[in-house]
Amino acid sequence: MNHARENSWLILIGIVGAIFLIGAPQVLELFTIINLTTAIAMALLALSLGLVWGFGGILCFGQSTFFGIGAYAYVVAAINFGGTSWAVVVAILVAAAFAAVLGYFMFYGRVSDVYLGVITLTVSLIFYNLMRRTSGPEYKIGDALLGGFNGINAPPLNVPGDASWILFPEDVFYVAMAALIIGYFGCVWLVRSHFGRVAVAIRENELRAELIGYDVRLQKLILFAVGGGIAGAAGVLFANGVGRVTPDVFNLYNAALIIIWVIVGGRGTLIGPILGAFGLFYLISSLGQQTSINNNLVLGVILVVFVLLVPKGIVPSVIDLWDRKRGRRGQFRRHGRRQRRRGGRTAETSHEG
């Protein structure tokens, strides 16, 4: 995609997002709005993995770790502080800090990507086992009982600075949707900045990037921590949407779900994972109303089919298809630019136009 067209797409996405932000609470029922808040939290989580995996090439199978840590940190901090103003900040910082610590061991140990995926997944599963066992009264952080299998009730968000002014579910929707829009455009800005271009360079060829003189390990560490922070923010929204945080945020099913959103939506785009998360959220909600087909089965089949048949994901495949159709008509005008852009990467595409 060239920059001019990408910009017009971004404007379109911004307009659609803004309309949705303002319009949805006017049109939809309260129950749908509360559900939507959870879906938006999932979309933000998908965005965080889309950034880390799609642009940094970091194969993180346990993005649920940072999501869960964010959710738990938010609840624990909110209970201890007696208000959520700082709890949100604490949650994001704790999630980012944990990602940074874990990232230090992995990136500075130069763990390869397959190992990295399995290690991050293992960390998430161990958190799941750990939090499930915290049911006794002795397991508490400050005033907050961790509650083991049953989890903790999440205090609702309040207006920053005034703990008694608690937001209504519609207001939480506005906050969530605004957070998603800000997160999305923040990520777009990040991947277009110098930092983001270096990240992509590392994804494409780590050795080359290192020989040019970039500190690959630090670069990955920072990107991973940013992704962890965004996932933590998603955890805060999730805690608000559901009203409760349980150890299930860390489980294998959730970890798989995040990967599937990104695979289905498309790696290397930012809007793809978001659309994937929304689409699958509604698919699963509609499946939840019947019992004959198991969710795991459906997700598993989707994952296998996409890996084997649509490895790029939906959004990049659609863009490719679009390019091929448009390319035939507008080839003379765009020929030079396309060739320059694609030149080094794939030789066979340059003589296609």
Partner: protein, 289 residues
């Protein structure tokens, strides 16, 4: 004195347990450099095979030692032929596809047998007495099985023709295939054997843990971390990593309870990987199996 014997037994069992649940994964990883994310579900299928066939009247020993590895081994070969072989050389896609398979298997078993615990079976060996302490006889039996399994694997790799081919493929798949070894068939057999060992482990553990469609998740965290810490040498890696991690886990669990034990295992493994990113056997025991 009796306390120390009982404690030592617990530690050895902790180690043997790790070896048992990791060996099938290590075989596939060592040969093909593929982490099979459906490993937990292979264990789960082994467990279901035992529970179902025992309830149908099959002798429990027959079900555990023969039926479980056989059934899961056949499933493994089918999976390799239908799915994995299209993905060789695409490491990440292999991981993702086996993850999809894991979800499919959980879904299928839930659909067929329901999400609840299937009728459980009790361990066929009772408790034994060590001085003032009682210990589980079945755990002793599992330690024995693990030792026999490790020795068998060693002999098979070291002294048989198939083992020779396997080692050759492991060291250099291209050269092996240039010398006339069908690597594709070797991989299919490896995947089958790895699955069979996982099935055996799942079957043996079924009387202790019971079976659930989602039981795989409780094993895989430990199995993954053991295999990755061990590195690519199948036996030396699994044994050394299991000894270290299982030892840490058992000792910490004895002192503080099982919650901290598992966290300790993870922390040790992550620090270990910072020091030896390719696993223990990339640094120590380099020429071992």
């Amino acid at each position: 004195m009796d306390l120390y014997i009982a404690l030592a037994l617990q530690i050895v069992y902790g180690i043997a347990n790790l070896v048992l649940i990791s060996l099938g994964l290590a075989i596939i990883f060592g040969m093909m450099r593929v982490i099979n994310l459906a490993h937990g579900e292979f264990l789960m299928l082994g467990g279901y095979t035992v529970v179902i066939s025992t309830n149908a009247g099959v002798n429990i020993w027959l079900a555990m030692l023969i039926l479980a590895p056989l059934v899961v081994g056949v499933i493994g070969v089918i999976v390799e032929r239908v799915m994995i072989r299209f993905l060789y050389g695409r490491m990440v896609d292999t991981l993702l596809a086996t993850w999809g398979l894991s979800l499919v298997l959980i879904g299928l078993v839930t659909t067929i047998f329901g999400a609840q615990t299937a009728t459980t079976i009790s361990p066929p060996i009772g408790a034994i007495q060590i001085g003032d302490f009682t210990s589980s006889g079945y755990e002793l039996f599992l330690i024995g099985v693990t030792v026999v399994l490790s020795v068998l694997a060693y002999c098979a790799l070291k002294y048989t023709r198939i083992g020779l081919i396997a080692r050759g493929t492991m060291q250099g798949a291209e050269i092996a295939s240039a010398l006339g070894v069908s690597t594709s068939r070797t991989y299919a057999i490896t995947f089958g054997v790895g699955a069979a060992v996982s099935g055996l482990a799942g079957g043996l553990l079924a009387p202790i843990t019971g079976v659930l469609p989602s039981i795989g998740a409780t094993y895989i965290a430990k199995a993954f971390i053991t295999v990755i810490s061990g590195g690519t040498a199948i036996l030396a890696g699994t044994l050394s990593a299991s000894t270290l991690l299982g030892g840490v886990n058992s000792v910490l669990s004895y002192i503080t309870g099982p919650t901290i034990g598992e966290v300790g295992l993870l922390v040790v493994a992550i620090v270990l990987l910072r020091l030896m990113p390719q696993g223990i056997t990339a640094r120590l025991f380099r020429r071992s199996l």
